[in-house]
Each structure stands twice: as structure tokens, then as C-alpha cells.
């Protein structure tokens, strides 16, 4: 009896050990809804399998959440870390950093249409003009971690072919198109470069903003704004940092809403009605609190509307007007999306993939 008792103890111990294995987690298959949104996760550097697209789909009263929506839709992983995640309403362009790819997929279903790899080295962000996508590319990295041969690629969205390309200034980041002109944020320079759509080889005009330009946003009146930031390798006077309005008639800097807290990413996103622009920033060091600020474009000021830790991206749901914030607490664990009302009251929170960054609503 005593031996039997010992045997049971040993057996129980072994059973506990071997039932406590690390399980492969399953995710819900992606089914597009009548409305919903996608979140692009950049993942951990050099680990493309940590990069993914999460999706929330709403149909009638059903809401489904798929953590690996792109993989579910295409039966394969992205194969690289997401950098840019832009949509024209019908097509989404995903650029991946660690494996240089430009992936064109259906905005709603996420089904892959084309993958462009020819001449693609470290692609960044996309602007659309009719049937063409214009994608900024940093170029191949060098042993000293600099990049050479930066350019913009022109991709035909019907055929998926690379139609054209033109050289631009260093580390081109954001890109925007307005009235036949292409605006390129040559980051780590003080210039926004302006190219003519009808003659891509012509030398660009330069709009000097005395800060590193990062991303563009249009307001309701189709005015063009650009985030102006400081970086370790390109330090800038604090009085030149914030959100800059460009005069696209004479290609000059029109005004600046000075916001010294804006992060080096220069993340900005226009509200759904274009009346304001949201930006991601942080309280002055050594505070670690990040924030979503709302720029009052006419009043030339800003207000902090949401504060918290690890804010990396923001978007506004056009249907509900709720504000969605992408949160990355660290590089080792899942990120979060928190949903706030227009006034900044927290409404919901959901766990998503690693390092969420960009939102696309449909």
C-alpha cells in the first residue's frame, strides 16, 4: 500500500510535467465583415514571423477577431516586417523591411494581388494616384548602416509591374500627391522635395522646414501638412519641431504648430472629417508617458487627448468616430489596441500582435 502511494505520487508528478507543454495557439480564420479594420504589426526586428495583420470584422451583430488575418486570407506569412501599411480604399499596399517586398492586396479581403521585389530595397510608404502607387524606398543598406540610391518606385496597380522609378533625397519616408505634384519627405534632411508627376526626372523643388520631415496628412480643405521632427543623427532646434503646413502654391513653409513632444517617427493621421490631425508624442524626458495629441489646425495649437505608455500609432474609425491607439509595451510581448471615445474616454482594449503601428478602416 505504501509503495502504491509512492507510485501514484511519482505518476502524478510526471503527468503534471508532461501536460504542461507549450501549446501552439490557434487563431480565428479571417472573414471580412461589412465593416471592420486591420492593424499592421511591424513585429520584432529581424523576426519576420512576428509581423502580421490583425483584423476585426463586423457583420450584423457578429464581431470576429483574427490575429493572423493576412495568413488566413493567403495561406502564407508576410515574409517580412511590415513598415508601410497604406490603402486607397480598394487596395492596400504593405511594404516589408527585413525582406524587401511591396505587397498589393485587396483592402477588404486581404487577398494578395501582386508582390513586387524588383528594385525594391527597404521600401517605406505609399501614395496613390489613380491606377498607380508611388512607394518610397531607402535603398540598400551599407556596412556603416547608411543607405544608398534612395528612390520612389511607380507601380501599376492593374498589372503589378514596376513602371518607373526616380531618385530622391536620403531616407525618403512619407509621400503625398496633390495637384500633379509629388511631395517626398527626405528624412534626416531639412527638405520636403517636390516632383512633377509629368516629368519625374526633373530636379525637385525644395521646401525647407528646418527639421526632418516624416509623414504627410491632408486636412478637410486639402491643405498638406507634414510632421517635422528631430533625430539623433539630425538634431533640430526645438522651435522648429511639430506639425508644419506647406504652401503648395509657391512650395514654401506656411506655418508651424510647434509641438516639441512629437516622436522621431513623426506619426500623424488626419481625423476622418479632416478637421483635425492626430499625432503621437511623449511628455518631456524623463517622463515615459506617451500621448495622442489633437492639432487644432485653424487655432494653430494642440491638446493632449489621451495619455499612456507605449503609444505607437493612432487612427479614427470613420463609422463610430472612436479613436484607436496602437500600443507596444515592449518588444517581447503582444501589443494592445485601445479604443477611446472622441473625448478620450477608454471604451475597450484588445490584445493584438507584436508592435502594432498602423490602422486601416473599411
Amino acid at each position: 500500500m505504501k509503495n502504491n502511494y509512492k507510485f501514484q505520487l511519482v505518476f502524478a508528478f510526471i503527468a503534471i510535467l508532461f501536460t504542461s507543454c507549450i501549446e501552439d495557439k490557434e487563431t480565428t480564420p479571417y472573414v471580412p465583415g461589412s465593416e471592420g479594420f486591420h492593424v499592421g504589426h511591424s513585429g520584432a526586428f529581424g523576426k519576420p514571423k512576428t509581423s502580421s495583420v490583425s483584423a476585426v470584422s463586423m457583420s450584423d451583430s457578429d464581431t470576429t477577431f483574427s490575429h493572423l488575418a493576412y495568413m488566413s486570407a493567403n495561406g502564407e506569412e508576410l515574409g517580412g516586417n511590415i513598415e508601410g501599411f497604406d490603402s486607397n480604399g480598394q487596395l492596400t499596399v504593405i511594404t516589408t523591411a527585413s525582406t524587401s517586398q511591396i505587397i498589393v492586396c485587396d483592402t477588404k479581403t486581404l487577398e494578395k494581388k501582386f508582390v513586387v521585389t524588383d528594385s525594391v530595397d527597404n521600401p517605406r510608404y505609399t501614395a496613390f494616384d489613380g491606377n498607380r502607387a508611388y512607394v518610397t524606398v531607402w535603398g540598400p543598406i551599407q556596412p556603416d548602416y547608411s543607405y544608398i540610391r534612395p528612390k520612389v518606385l511607380v507601380i501599376n496597380l492593374t498589372t503589378g509591374e514596376l513602371e518607373n522609378w526616380f531618385s530622391v533625397g536620403s531616407n525618403p519616408e512619407g509621400i503625398a500627391i496633390k495637384d500633379g505634384k509629388i511631395y517626398v519627405a527626405a528624412s534626416y534632411t531639412p527638405n520636403v522635395e517636390v516632383y512633377n508627376l509629368s516629368d519625374l526626372t526633373a530636379a525637385p523643388e525644395l521646401i525647407t522646414i528646418d527639421a526632418s520631415p516624416q509623414h504627410f496628412a491632408f486636412d478637410a480643405d486639402n491643405n498638406l501638412w507634414v510632421s517635422a521632427v528631430s533625430a539623433w543623427s539630425f538634431p533640430v532646434e526645438s522651435e522648429n519641431i511639430g506639425l508644419a503646413k506647406l504652401n503648395t502654391t509657391d512650395n514654401s513653409l506656411e506655418t508651424l504648430i510647434n509641438y516639441t513632444g512629437i516622436g522621431g517617427d513623426g506619426y500623424i493621421k488626419a481625423s476622418t472629417d479632416g478637421s483635425t490631425i492626430f499625432g503621437i508624442g511623449a511628455e518631456p524626458w524623463p517622463s515615459s508617458t506617451t500621448e495622442v495629441v489633437e492639432f487644432d489646425l485653424s487655432g494653430k495649437k494642440y491638446d493632449t487627448i489621451i495619455s499612456g505608455e507605449g503609444f505607437k500609432g493612432v487612427g479614427q474609425n470613420p463609422a463610430s468616430k472612436d479613436i484607436y491607439v496602437a500600443i507596444t509595451p515592449d518588444y517581447e510581448n503582444s501589443g494592445l489596441v485601445k479604443v477611446y471615445s472622441e473625448t478620450g474616454a477608454e471604451k475597450a482594449s484588445m490584445e493584438v500582435g507584436l508592435a502594432p503601428f498602423h490602422f486601416i478602416f473599411y
Binding site: 523576426k47 519576420p48 512576428t50 527585413s98 548602416y145 522621431g264 506617451t290 507605449g310 507584436l354
Partner: protein, 623 residues
Amino acid sequence: MKFYIFMTFLLLCFSQSYSQTYKLPDRELKEVEIVSKSMKYYSQGSNIQTIDSTEIQFHNEGTLAALLRDKASVYIREYGAPGQLTTISMRGMSPTNTAIMWNGINLNSMTLGQTDMSTINTFYFDNVDLQYGASSAQYGTGAVGGSIILKDNIHWDAQKNHFEVQSAYGSFNQQFYGFKGEYGGKKWRHKTVGLYQKSDNDYRFYNEHDKEYQNVNNADFEHYGILHETHFKPTENQEWSINLWYTKDDRSIQPIMNENMSPNDGFTENTAFRGLINHQLHTEKWTHVSSVAYIKDKLFSGSDDIIATERIQADYRGETSLSNSISLQTGFYVMNIWPDVYKYDSKTEEFRASVFLALRFDITNRFTVSTVLRQTFVSSLTPPFTPSLDLSYSLLNVYGKSLTLKGSVGRSYRVPTMNERYWGENSNPDIEPEDGFNIDLGIDYSQDFPGVTLNANVTGFYLRTYNKILWVPANPTYAKNIKNTRSFGVESNVNVSNQNTDELLKWKAGIAYTFTDAQNTDKNKQLIYVPKHLFKAFVSLNYHGWGLNVDHNYVGKRTTSSDFHNLDAYHLINLGFSKLIQLQDNNLMLTLKVNNLMNETYQNYEEYPMPGINYMLKANITF
């Protein structure tokens, strides 16, 4: 300036300590041995594994990482091919939570807080001790998940000089050339070790992204190193030594799998120099050990972005016996660090000091208790006071049978690395040290059967850390105390052998199983790259100079930073044949190794494929 002040302080302490009137018990002293007992003596309740020179000999053309992967209950994280960045996880803790000690010097980088274990070759050393669990009281900062103590011995009682030449050649153009010599007389004795190692590492693997077989690109490396020691005994009770160790590692940086065909040709040059002057003095009452060390590390990656540190460290230990059953060791160290890191403020400097006291009481022949108390001081930081308590009780010790109950409890800490404090615009010099504690409880059973010796031990552990430091994805990034973790598990070993018999066929076999459950306390997920299950088994046979070794390693699944992607479990089987040939007074040992016999496809770090089956032929001549 601080340094000179503390050197003065050091000398004062020497003179004061030397004048004390305590006495070591006679049973602890040998006439020609001038050693203070290592901290192992005050850690008798902890789980300590010793890898002896025989086991090291078999692995001595490889790195410490390869040795520990095969022989210890630890997980080795390799960024791909041998020679690439390799770190260690003990009891689920991160690489910064393992202290790696050589002659009282913590080899962990002052900037990164960890050691690249591919840069430490086992050919330099004679023994390796692994102390599992927190041992911050014994070894200071970073000894949270465990400590590794590297030893290179001098044999004063050797009858003649001893020299060793070794060469090895293997798959992917792996090459090894080494020389080791211990020579001298009764007053002067020297030891010199030099080695060169390289590999092209262009092995074949299946690229799951490109869906084809490819050769690994840009993963070659070269290692050069020389270690020299000169020991001088002017009298029977005094010994001076100088230890110099220089290593240089040039390596290309292996790209992740999906960039294999378009690598960016990244490379690093890593140099390290450790110089140490050591003095040991045995008086009637005390054994004194004091040393001054200079350490310089430099990492160069092809740009002007240099990451280097220099440090000077002085330490003193004095040991005596308060009675026949009570031993006391006390001491301190002081260290000043001068970094040259492109991302630090140019005036950055850091001072560290530590005082400790260790006491062991052999209450009876069966029951011993020891305690170690340590307090560390760091520029503008206050690491916690760190006590530990170890107990050992012999439940049974008769007729070739022994059963010992062991336990230990200790507080642990890790001083933030210099990168965590001073890196970039958002430097955070006031970041708190990591804090925690560890509890061990184990039994050790040995029995001599006719012709067979059995040893089995089981240790359960529980480990908590608070204020865990992680890098926050801000722009620019910075380090912050944001997590608490806990880890618990079991380490077990069973070894049987007939080594103590007169049989012509000598054999040894063993199995080891480790279970580790390690989590952030706010998340129900195993910590990334920490296997829950590790299983190892080995068989070793020797007959008339012929030898056969088989090692089997099982590494369970490991989580990654994606909740939906785990690294698969794998089995590795390594095989070795050896033949010892006597050539008059010289010995030639030929060894053929077949690694990864089953050609298993596996990864120890996501996106870095590991080598399939590969071979190595080694010749070692001793004279």
C-alpha cells in the same frame, strides 16, 4: 581619483586584515597549498555541477556554449552557426542574469551585461563549475539564474613539464590549432595557452521562405587567443601570479533566413584583454588573497560607432577559522569603469564596490550551515543588501550509501548595464537594479553497488525577480523597470558508472531532466526562448584506449515574441570515437566526432538555421 582613493583604502584593509589573530583549522591546510576556499565551500546547499577536465578534453576544440549545451541543464541561445552570438539562459532567466567568473573577474560585458559564449573556448580551462540559482551574495551582480566559474589550474606538485598540441579539422572548413604548456620549477611556474580557430560555416539548410536548399552566407568567423600565467612562490607560504588573457574575434554577421541570399556583409571585431596580478599569503592565522585587474573590451562593427570599456578592479579576500568547525571569509572589491561608447555622454564613468562576509558552521559531521552577506555600492544607485543561507544535512551515510538533504535561500540582484543607464538621448541613470530571491531544496543520493556507482540528485527551485529591466519601444528607445517574473522547476540527474572498478571496459551513463516554468507575472505565457523541458542523456565507453561517446539532447518547444509562433522541439545526437595511442612517453589522442547524427533541422533562435550532420577529426598530442 576615486580609484586612487580606493586603492589606498584597499591597502589599509590589507594591513588591518593581516594583523588579525584568527586561526584556520589544521584540517583545511596543506603545507604547499596556499588557497582560500572558493565560494563553492560556502554554497553547500546549492545545486553545483562540476565539469571536469576529462569532459572538457573531449569538447576542447569548441566553445563554452557547445560544452554547456551538451553537459549542463541550461539552454544555449545561438544566433545560428557556431561562432555567432551565443548566450545562455539558466533557470529561465535572461543572459544578463548569469554571472561568468574567471579569477574573480565577471566576464560579462559592462555595456551589454552578458557574455557572448562563442568567444570563450574551453581549451583555455581545466574545470568549469556551474552553480544553479541565485548566487549574488557569493558572486555579486547578475548571479540570478546561476553562475559559471571558469578555472585554469596550476599543478605545483607536477613531476615534469606538460605540453599539449592540438589540431582539428571538420565540415564547413572548421579548423582548430592550439598549444598548451605548463612548465617551470618549484618557485616559478608558467602556463601558456594559445589557439586559433576558424570556420566558414557555409553549411546547407532548407530556406523555408525561399522554399529551396541554400548554403548559409556571411557566417564565417575567426578566433585568436592567448592566455599566459606566471606564478612565483618566493616562500612556502606566499605566492604571486600574473594572469594575462587576450582574445580577438572577427566574424561576419549571419543574416536571418529570409535575407540569406542578400546579406548586408555586416561584421564585428571584438577584442578583450584581461590582466590580473594576484597575491596570496598564508599566515598562521589567515589566508589572504588580493588582486588588481585591468580589463578592456572593444567592439568594432565597421563604422565609427565604437563600443568599448576599460575597468580597473581591485579585490581582497581574507579567510580564517574561528574554531575547528567555523570558517570565515570576508573581503571586498572596488571597480571603476571608463566607457567609450558613441551613444553615451563623453563624461560617463561608473564606480562600483562591494563588501561581503561568508561564514560556515559545521555543526555536526552531518549538518552544516553557511551564510554569505553582501552589500554592493554603485554610483548613484543602491543595490539591495544580499544575504544567502545554505543548509546541508546528511540523512544517511553508511555502507557506501549516502543521502543528503540540501537547501538554500538567497536574495539576488542585477545592477543595470551601462547601456541600460546611459544609452542615447533618453539615458536613464537612475533606473533601479533588478531585485529578487531564490529558494532551492534538493536531495543527493549515492550508492556503491558491486562494480557500479550510482549518483542521483533532484533539486526543486523557485525564483522571483522584481523590477525586471526591458527596452521600451520609444523613439529613441530606452530601458525601464517594467516587469516582474517568476520561475520554478526541477533539475534532476542520474549517473551510473564503473569508473572505480578494475574492469577493462569502463563505462559511464547518465540522464538529466530539467523542467522550467518561467513567466512574467502579468501574463500567462512562458518566457520567450525558455524551453519547459530539457532532457539530456549520455553514454561513454572506454576499452584499451578506445573510446565511444554518445550524447543526446532534447530541447522542448520555446515561445517567441509572437503568441502564434513557437520554435519546434528537437533532438540532437552527437557521436564521438576516440583512440589513445601511446608513443613512448607521449600520448596521441585521435577523435572523430559526428555531430547532429540524425541531421535534425532546428533553430535555437528564430530565423537562424543550425547545422545539419557534420564531422570533426581532432588530434591531440601530450608530451
